[in-house]
Subunit: 198 residues, 2 copies
Amino acid sequence: MQTLTALVFDDFETLDLFGPIEMFGCVPEHYHLQFASLSGGVIRSKHSVAMQTIAVADLPDQTDVLLVVGGIGTRQQIDNNEFLQTLVTLSNTADWVLSVCTGSGLLAKAGLLDGKRATSNKLSWQWVISQSEHVNWTKQARWVVDGKFYTSSGVSAGMDMALGFIADRHGIEAANGIAEYAEYRWQQDNSIDDFYRP
Amino acid sequence: MQTLTALVFDDFETLDLFGPIEMFGCVPEHYHLQFASLSGGVIRSKHSVAMQTIAVADLPDQTDVLLVVGGIGTRQQIDNNEFLQTLVTLSNTADWVLSVCTGSGLLAKAGLLDGKRATSNKLSWQWVISQSEHVNWTKQARWVVDGKFYTSSGVSAGMDMALGFIADRHGIEAANGIAEYAEYRWQQDNSIDDFYRP
């Protein structure tokens, strides 16, 4: 059993978080989920979802898997040194670090993706890659794996990445079982990217 | 501008709600979103998401579009007369009523789908159709439209239905624009159902 910590902030993109949470939530025998923010309390998504979170400092369980979401709220966090330092602290002790959409921009700004391959969403591509020139940015990918880092393309790609992660850890049958349960049309091959425009 | 009310209850299926919310949230010029439950307060999804809701009696805006989700929590609500009566009251005044997954079982039990075509998810199919014999249950469909009722198949199908609803109201370009933004591989044809097993 591992603990997955989803780190959120105001104006996060709703599906960036809850798509992967649905997938990880389908294998409760493997993952315990906890929802964190820098200061705890109620965090609101871009689409008015008000959710309760625990302050990072008060998290009851050590983070084995860190999930970093994206959305327009990243524009505030990218200049928040406390947030970036928290990313570093949680990432350093986590076994795995996953990001969705512009979440990889935050990881990049924190220096965590230096020398690594990574991807991000298409519409904010220039903003994301401007956060670090030390990352091998890969635009055509549903998601990218490099070491302990999984980074996905925009929004919905987070669900495909989550199933890919689960397949890598627990076997393809486990991931296919979740897709069947959730009636989700999983894009299983991470090199196929329907949203890449040359 | 219309007001969409998402009606939730404890142990709802996470993606049933937040998939459609992402899609509707992408057209804020058309939809204002409010999250309701019978008694208000914090509602927890099956996957530990704790969200704030408004009591139905305290909703500030009239419901133009009602979104009813599914999940294992439906097993409690199916015998909750106050909940079923609330479904009837909200549905009667709404222009449109949408359900995801086993949410259609709740609508059926409340008598709202009498004489109508509807679908639901695959894994709980027998439980859902046992809620009413007055519904023309259609198993092979990503989603079904009959009058003002849109009912979708399991979990992820709710996203396809939401985009289909948006296409019906605001044009295919609007729906395609959201799919492109969210990098979502929209199953646009509601008669194609990858999860139907004869």
